[in-house]
């Protein structure tokens, strides 16, 4: 295909604003898929979890053959972007592979925090942006208000904003026309040595690691020896091709084209998103800019409830990492829980996905400790250490200073929630940065319309990551009746008065229940935590004291009273089999718990810290 007839673009949208539906429409209109919606959906969201959570976890690309109004044939490459802020690096690499972006905004919900963040990234990459107000057919839609919001916030004129209903197919042909008209064809140097941007990769058990690439300069040819520039390893282009949406092998991917390269690699970690593919014989001088190592931000311990599941857990983690280069893990041993792994994730959603896949796909009973951030600890002897497990914090006498990661967060919400958001954030040690109205007074359409007629604000704060790890997003949603959206990015490290809170069960410290908390909260949290644990730890055959200690001093105590009654009333009509089943269920319940000393502790207890109430 002539380079002038190639268009590389992506869709930027908040969760549920209609990205998948619009992509399905594009596929349909270019004749790639016909038939039921279910079939179409499966094209882009191939992981069950993605469909269930309504987010696209891994980016993929599809090539759409398109006959435009001018009668010419075009090659449109639609690159899918992950829809969650945990994957913002992956989003930035997907955007870097494009020249244009379709910005989709829900006609009843308006612009959300993450949408703005992604638009800014798109602007940094000089992408042509095609704004679309979607779901205009829905009740409660206020397309004009949302259109003017887009104009105000991002800077368009009203006639540039398209109105559509992807579900009904309204306005979607116009979007494809606009892509052809407004998105510039790829530039790049055909004669220069190959540089192809890896914007996604996945492991395929037949072909090894598949890299999804955008050729920036030069071209890739089948069978050529290639080099991953950042990973600094040699590979061979075993198979190359494009996705339409299934793989269609080709001999060559030319400058500006998007497609896949089967690398034969066994480890997806060697084919990291953002890396540059070049020719081994004629390498490029410089890799493409923007490459970053995966930086886990959130950590938790993963322990098998049954000690003999350690091997299977390791295998499962290794298999997961084949397809998830951002997942890190290393063995650790807890005094209370025995051998397990310390895992690092990009963020909380990433953590949940990994844990759910381990349990669902590998049928493992896991014990997951509460998530932690990475602390930088300066010791009195001058040594600096980094810890991602509260249990590893040295005793107070050896600690000079503890620094924790801070985030910049942006909350977009109707202005009547400013007070609530402010309260939530400051209650969690957040510090106000700035506030901006997203829309002028003049564009208010309808005083009564909560969705679109109200003034929306963008609030920016600095806040410790540890404070938003747990239930922050849920709280934000419930305090704003679901109208607030959140975006966050790492800001800096800052020293704080932090202390370790230890929990003792039956007089034994349980390292996996330790947490690091701000001194101001330590006592109150200790008290709450032992109360929660008293409810969560089932009654045993003896009294179990539960204590919280700060700096070696007990600050709270509760007792789980010994169980007094647990016996089946009768075995009715000789139904021994059923009676046995009931007992088996009880036995299985016990097995799912972790024995710490001689106390059986259920998984929920290890997550109790997640449900601690804050001041807000």
């Amino acid at each position: 295909m002539e380079r002038s007839h190639i268009r590389n673009f992506c869709i930027i949208a908040h969760i549920d604003h209609g990205k998948s539906t619009l992509a399905d429409r594009f596929l349909e209109q270019t004749g790639l898929t016909r038939g039921s919606r279910v079939e179409v959906e499966q094209v882009l969201d191939s992981m069950d979890l993605e469909r269930e959570r309504g987010v696209t976890i891994k980016a993929k690309a599809v090539r759409l053959p398109y006959k435009a109004d001018d009668g010419d044939d075009y090659q449109l490459n639609l690159i899918d972007t992950p829809g969650h802020v945990d994957f913002s690096y992956e989003v930035s690499r997907a955007l870097a592979a494009c020249e244009g972006a379709v910005l989709v905004v829900d006609a009843s919900q308006g612009i959300q925090a993450q949408t703005i963040a992604n638009v800014y990234v798109a602007m940094e990459h000089n992408l042509a942006i095609i704004p679309v107000v979607n779901k205009i057919d829905l009740q409660g839609a206020d397309p004009e208000a949302v259109a003017s919001q887009i104009c105000d916030v991002i800077g368009f004129s009203r006639d540039e904003v398209l109105l559509a209903s992807a579900k009904e197919g309204i306005g979607t042909p116009e979007i494809l026309q606009a892509v052809v008209r407004l998105v510039p064809p790829p530039s790049g140097d055909e004669a220069a040595p190959l540089r192809a941007l890896v914007f996604d990769s996945k492991y395929d058990s037949y072909k090894g690691v598949i890299a999804y690439v955008r050729v920036i300069d030069g071209s890739v040819e089948r069978g050529h020896r290639l080099r991953m520039m950042s990973a600094d390893i040699a590979i061979e282009a075993l198979e190359i091709g494009s996705l339409t949406p299934g793989p269609v092998p080709a001999d060559r991917l030319a400058t500006g084209e998007v497609g896949y390269v089967a690398t034969g690699l066994k480890d997806v970690g060697l084919c990291r998103v953002g890396d540059t593919l070049t020719d081994a014989e004629q390498p490029a001088a410089e890799p493409l800019p923007g490459y970053e190592e995966a930086k886990p931000m959130v950590f938790s311990g993963l322990y098998p409830t049954q000690p003999n599941d350690f091997g299977p857990l390791r295998e499962a983690l290794e298999k997961l990492r084949l397809n998830d280069a951002a997942l890190s893990f290393e063995p650790e041993t807890s005094v209370a829980l025995g051998p397990g792994f310390r895992c690092g994730y990009l963020g909380l959603l990433h953590m949940e996905i990994v844990q759910e896949r381990l349990e669902r796909e590998y049928d493992l009973d896991l014990l997951i400790t509460a998530p932690s951030v990475e602390y930088r600890v300066r010791k009195t002897n001058g040594e600096e250490i980094v810890i991602d497990n509260p249990a590893a914090l040295p005793p107070p006498t050896e600690v000079m200073e503890i620094a924790e990661p801070w985030m910049t967060i942006t909350v977009v919400c109707p202005d009547r929630y400013i007070g609530a958001v402010m309260e939530l954030v400051t209650g969690r040690r957040g510090v106000f940065d700035k506030m901006e109205y997203l829309q002028g007074e003049a564009s208010r359409q309808n005083e009564d319309s909560v969705q679109a007629g109200e003034r929306r604000v963008s609030l920016q704060y600095q806040i410790p990551l540890a404070e938003i790890l747990v239930d922050f997003h849920d709280k934000l949603k419930s305090m704003t009746q679901g109208y607030a959206s959140l975006d966050y990015a790492f800001s800096h490290y800052e020293a704080a008065k932090l202390q370790k809170l230890d929990i003792l069960v039956n007089s034994e410290p349980v390292d996996a229940l330790s947490l690091i908390t701000h001194s101001e909260n330590a006592h109150a949290q200790g008290k709450q935590l032992v109360q929660r644990l008293r409810q969560l730890i089932p009654r045993q055959l003896f009294d179990v004291p539960i204590q919280a200690a700060v700096g070696g001093r007990i600050v709270a105590r509760e007792t789980v009273r010994a169980l007094r009654k647990n016996v089946l009333a009768k075995c009715y009509g000789g139904d021994v089999t059923r009676k046995r089943k009931l007992l088996e269920k009880q036995k299985a319940g016990k097995k799912r718990m972790k024995r710490v000393g001689n106390v059986e502790i259920p998984q929920e207890a290890f997550m109790a810290v997640l449900r601690l109430e804050r001041k807000s």
């Binding site: 169980l563 009654k565 009333a569 009509g573 046995r580």
Partner: protein, 391 residues
């Protein structure tokens, strides 16, 4: 002497299904009773050959509400049983009954059929508790029914009561026990209310309409009751059962001693020739399957038991666990020499690991060549039983 056997007959009909009940019982299906009686007779015939030479020492009609069956229907069934099985002349012959379906003529009729033991489902002697349990009778009707049974000539009458009802005060429970004792029953069964999944009670508890029974209150009630009934000269012989000397329920002892029994009727369970199995639970399905089996038997084509829909063969390992789990329900416990004779292993050695915590926390004890639950262990039986299950 040939191995004896017990016979259970399930009558799945009720006028009302109580909110806590998860037994195989159906309200509003009384029209099926005549056909059901015929099916029981046919089913008895189906088992005739397999139980030849096995004298029946106990017969137990359970439900449902067996006392819903008119005497004439009952006669048909009992005659059918007698013609199919070798029922001993001195067999214990029990019937479960609801107070509101008992009057003297009916009771006299039952005696005439050979019933010699009556178990009356009183549940409570407080009208408001009976109402909350969906029981159709009143407290005074329960007393009347009991006296009617006595005057009709029943010399072995048992009363069932339920404790640990939501919000039940100790004093209320004590009141029910005292009322029961005044009637001087020969046998008393006391069951803690259990919230069974899928029952209306479970839904009410889940929705917060009814508080869930409090296990500590149940334990208090149980401990008080043990003492009170001992004072009244009842022998505590099984976790939930007390009897005057000589009045233990022989039929139920069959279950706890892990001996064999045959269950007839919809959803009935059997333990026969080393296998545990169950019959189709739905009455209409049961009728249909028994009929098919009976026709095949009659025309000689096969002897398949189509009504048996599930089963398991009891491995020696399972048999050992069952023997202990069921036997430990008895206050006397499990005879270790008998266990050794039956399985060729020493129970304490074979289960030393499983029993280490129960011994450590005084849930079980080794007394007089028996392994038995301690008084504390009686309330924590499941903690012991679950540990004894094979992996």
């Amino acid at each position: 002497m040939a191995d004896t056997i017990s016979l259970y007959v399930h009558i799945p009909f009720c006028t009302v299904k109580c909110g806590y009940c998860d037994f195989n019982a159906y309200a509003g299906s009384d029209h099926l009773i005549p056909a059901y009686s015929q099916a029981l007779i046919k089913e008895a015939q189906l088992w005739r050959k397999a139980t030849e030479n096995r004298p029946v020492t106990t017969v137990f009609f359970g439900g449902g509400t067996p006392s819903l069956m008119p005497v004439e229907e009952m006669r048909t069934v009992v005659d059918g049983l007698r013609s199919a099985f070798d029922i001993a002349a001195d067999a214990e012959f029990s019937l479960e009954a609801n107070p509101n379906s008992l009057d003297e003529p009916y009771l006299a009729g039952l005696l005439g059929l050979g019933f010699n033991r009556l178990s009356i489902g009183v549940q409570s002697f407080h009208d408001e508790e009976l109402k909350a349990l969906d029981r159709e009778h009143s407290a005074s009707e329960a007393g009347d029914a009991f006296r009617a049974a006595r005057s009709a000539g029943f010399t072995n009458v048992s009363i069932d009561l339920m404790f640990g009802l939501p919000e039940q005060e100790m004093s209320s429970w004590q009141g029910s026990i005292e009322e029961a004792l005044e009637l001087e029953p020969d046998h008393i069964s006391l069951y803690a209310l259990t919230v069974e999944p899928g029952t209306p009670l479970a839904r009410d508890v889940a929705r917060g309409r009814t508080p869930s029974p409090n296990p500590d209150a149940q334990a208090d009630q149980y401990e008080w009751t043990e003492e009170r009934l001992e004072k009244a000269a009842y022998e505590h012989y099984e976790i939930s059962n007390w009897a005057k000397p000589g009045y233990r329920c022989e039929h139920n002892l069959t279950y706890w001693r892990c001996r064999e029994y045959l269950g007839l009727g919809a959803g009935a369970h059997s333990y026969l020739d080393g296998a545990r199995f169950a019959v189709a639970a739905l009455p209409t399905k049961y009728l249909e399957l028994v009929d098919e089996s009976f026709k095949s038997l009659e025309n000689g084509s096969d002897t398949k038991m189509r009504q048996v829909v599930s089963g398991e063969s009891v491995t020696p390992e399972l048999d050992m666990a069952d023997t202990l789990i069921l036997g430990l329900r008895l206050i006397e416990g499990v005879s270790l020499p008998d266990f050794h004779e039956g399985f060729g292993v020493d129970a304490l050695e074979r289960f030393s690991e499983e029993l280490s915590e129960p011994f450590e926390f005084s849930l079980v004890e080794h007394v007089d060549a028996h392994l038995r639950l301690t008084p504390k262990g009686r309330l924590l039986g499941n903690e012991v039983f679950a540990r004894l299950l094979p992996d």
